[in-house]
Symmetry: C2
């Protein structure tokens, strides 16, 4: 052993990493989500991990979360990467992408994007510095049909229902309902109210009431605001209950019609999975219509596992066209990491191998390799054992790795192939050109 200094590697806080068994499950999740998105005809897009800082900051944000790139020993004559930063979400890169490739795209443009993003925030439960988001958006020139406001919750439902995760609820609201309702009450700064009500789950009725009073609202205004926020339901009854509060405005009517359309479209989904919740606002200013937010039923404080909404003009910073859209983002790492931490990810085998081929000896090596190729051609993930160790040792290796079948090529010229089902302990003759395992995990 050399005496060189050893750099003991330690995990970096906020940058999750999985063992191969856990990683295999994550990959299955990613495949499932991708298939779900594609089953609705959305196309895949990936963008570089990096954007120019003026693109990242185009919304006028001064985010201290953005990681900028620097070179360890920068070449003074080359400042071409002096202004690059890692993207902190997939919405800004998508807006930039649509503006840049506008003439190459077919509208309405339905895209999904599953990539890592980076945020230099303090790591804490459910918050990472590097994590994978799964975004799905529709963007169009001038207007986006309401159809998509209802389609996105349907897609999320399809995707999340297929994952083995704790019970969740996707809450839907409409910013026009909130804004129109507050306007109908004569409130001049509806955005301030929206921000306050958005904190309802955290600070309760009393907390929200206090903020609203500080904003100068009268009791006659605060009470209906809180009454609205308490309305929650699965169907068009919700719309009825809002109307019963006796507030009226053009915008409120428009918002209620939209909310009713969305909820009506989703009437076939299992009751309780998608719920109209009039307290949901989403902090971000740019949502203008439908908003979405999902969380775990048993752990709502863990944060949203899925969020999004409708925006009037996504790419206005990058192109002189009106490009409204509606989108939703699934926080894959946030969901997955929680289950990993709680030991709820059911991990399987340490490798994807279906069959391990025994190598009976150096002179039978070519036959074993040929058998491996045959089985691979037939779709089985196949390892040919890596030495001519004693057969017992070879079987032991397969057992340790949880490989379900061990294959014995003929031990002598002209002999018979045999296969052993490691789960059942049964062994018998088999032909690699036609073999199909019966009643097994394959």
């Amino acid at each position: 052993m050399s005496d060189q200094r050893v750099v003991r590697p330690t995990p970096i806080s906020g940058f999750p990493e999985w063992t191969p068994q856990v990683r295999a499950v994550e990959q299955r999740w990613l495949d499932h989500i991708r298939a779900g998105f594609e089953s609705f005809g959305f196309a895949s897009v990936e963008t570089p991990s990096v954007e120019n800082l003026d693109v990242l900051m185009a919304k006028g944000e001064t985010s201290q979360e953005v990681y900028t790139l620097n070179r360890l020993q920068a070449d003074a004559r080359d400042d071409s990467d002096a202004k690059l930063g890692l993207h902190f979400d997939l919405t800004v890169p998508f807006a930039r992408y649509v503006a840049q490739h506008f003439n190459e795209l077919t509208f309405p443009f339905k895209r999904y994007q599953m990539q890592r993003v980076w945020r230099g925030e303090r790591p804490q439960e459910g918050r990472f510095r590097e994590f994978t988001q799964c975004d799905i958006d529709v963007i169009n020139v001038d207007s986006v049909p309401l159809h998509f406001d209802a389609e996105l919750p349907r897609i999320v439902h399809r995707v999340l229902s297929g994952l083995d995760i704790p019970a969740w609820t996707l809450n839907v609201n409409n910013r026009k309902v909130l804004q129109g309702f507050y306007e109908g009450l004569g409130i001049k700064e509806p955005i301030a109210v929206i921000r306050a009500v958005d904190k309802l789950h955290k600070i309760g009725d009393g907390g929200v009431r206090e903020i609203l009073q500080d904003e100068g609202l009268s009791a006659e205004q605060v009470d209906p605001c809180l009454a609205l926020a308490r309305i929650k339901g699965t169907g068009s009854d919700v719309v009825e209950r809002v109307r019963e509060l006796g507030v009226a405005s053009e915008l409120l009517k428009e918002g209620l019609d939209e909310l009713a359309f969305v909820m009506n479209d989703l009437a076939d989904l299992p009751e309780g999975s998608v719920v109209a919740d009039l307290s949901i606002a989403r902090g971000l200013d740019y949502y203008t219509g439908t908003v979405y937010e999902a969380s775990f039923d048993d752990d709502p404080d863990y944060g949203s596992i899925c969020a999004g909404g409708r925006y009037e003009n996504l790419a206005g910073q990058f192109i002189r066209k009106r490009l409204p859209g509606v989108g939703i983002s699934i926080g894959l790492t946030r969901i997955f990491a929680k289950l990993v931490a709680e030991g709820k990810i059911e991990t399987g085998r340490v490798c994807p191998t279906d069959v391990m081929v025994v190598v009976p000896g150096a002179e039978r090596r070519a036959e074993a390799l040929r058998t491996g190729e045959l089985l691979r051609e037939r779709g089985f993930n196949t390892e040919v054992f890596h030495s001519t160790a004693k057969v017992g040792k070879q079987i032991q290796y397969a057992s340790k790795k949880g490989i379900p079948f061990v294959w014995f090529p003929p031990f002598e010229e002209g002999g018979e192939h045999e296969v052993k089902d490691m789960g059942k302990g049964e062994q018998g003759p088999a032909d690699p050109a036609v073999w199909t395992p019966r009643g097994t995990v394959l």
Copy 2:
């Protein structure tokens, strides 16, 4: 249209990005490569994009290619990411991973890793600042069977053969052959010779001869070095031709035996795809046995599209154990970007949709949505049209997006479903619960 300033987005040099049609092909490639790796029983690993700088620099390199991370507005009390850099390959992170998770892994550990890496080098043809590598390595405690030296070219052959790319050759050599041969000639600094010979394809016989003479080699030493470098063949004849040069050493014999074993194991592959080439050395110092390098036959100067080899001790910087390995890396982006630039990527549809369901009118909307769900359950990627526009307009949309089938749910209660094959222009009755397209792209 607002008057706000528009940030015109421009591509960032060295950070490739594809249109959805091209991206769809890239995703197919990634799936194919992944399936190829798994068909040999390799397990997936992903590591964070980021490593501590002392891990990235553990080999004592002072690479000016490393991107370090900084925050735009760093929190002075929190320097937890002060020493982070983006990984520049997947080998260093893999070595760190194995050391860190040593007790959780099953050895020999066979893993593949397909991720983006970053290098702050000057962008040029075939060289990017962000690109995807597809790595496959076997690592074991104390020794790695030679079996894997032969298995890796087999895997690469399987993977590359399944991609529609120009002709390529995977060249194989063994560093022990080179080092043993030079030692047998009485050369004291074999590494310097290895480095010189590695440049043969670039600087020719004359150039190499000049360097070797500068290194103090006599003509009697230079001639056999060049003679060795000219040996190239597909089988064990290569070994014979080296022996005919009349140089002998223990290490040379060992290297030739290993090379013969590898080439013999690969005898069933199509001739010319994997070739023993005694001029291949690979610049990196840490290879100690088998080395690999693949390039395009018609454009060898484009650079290697695939490279790797055997190393005696990969993770020695991170753990006090001897962990030799053998690995190979496919330069996915380098290969793919070349074909994109040359217009050789055959792109298909702009979306993954198989079937588009027409919405005959607002009152038939629920029926259309139900039909969409039925078709999705049966595995078809299905869009339900996003408005109640005239049917002709809906069909036009499907045609523009290249969607192969348009589905007509009954236009009135109790009516019949029909489907139109957009390619053939044929239309007829169909039942969404049992429909299977015949003779089509699906």
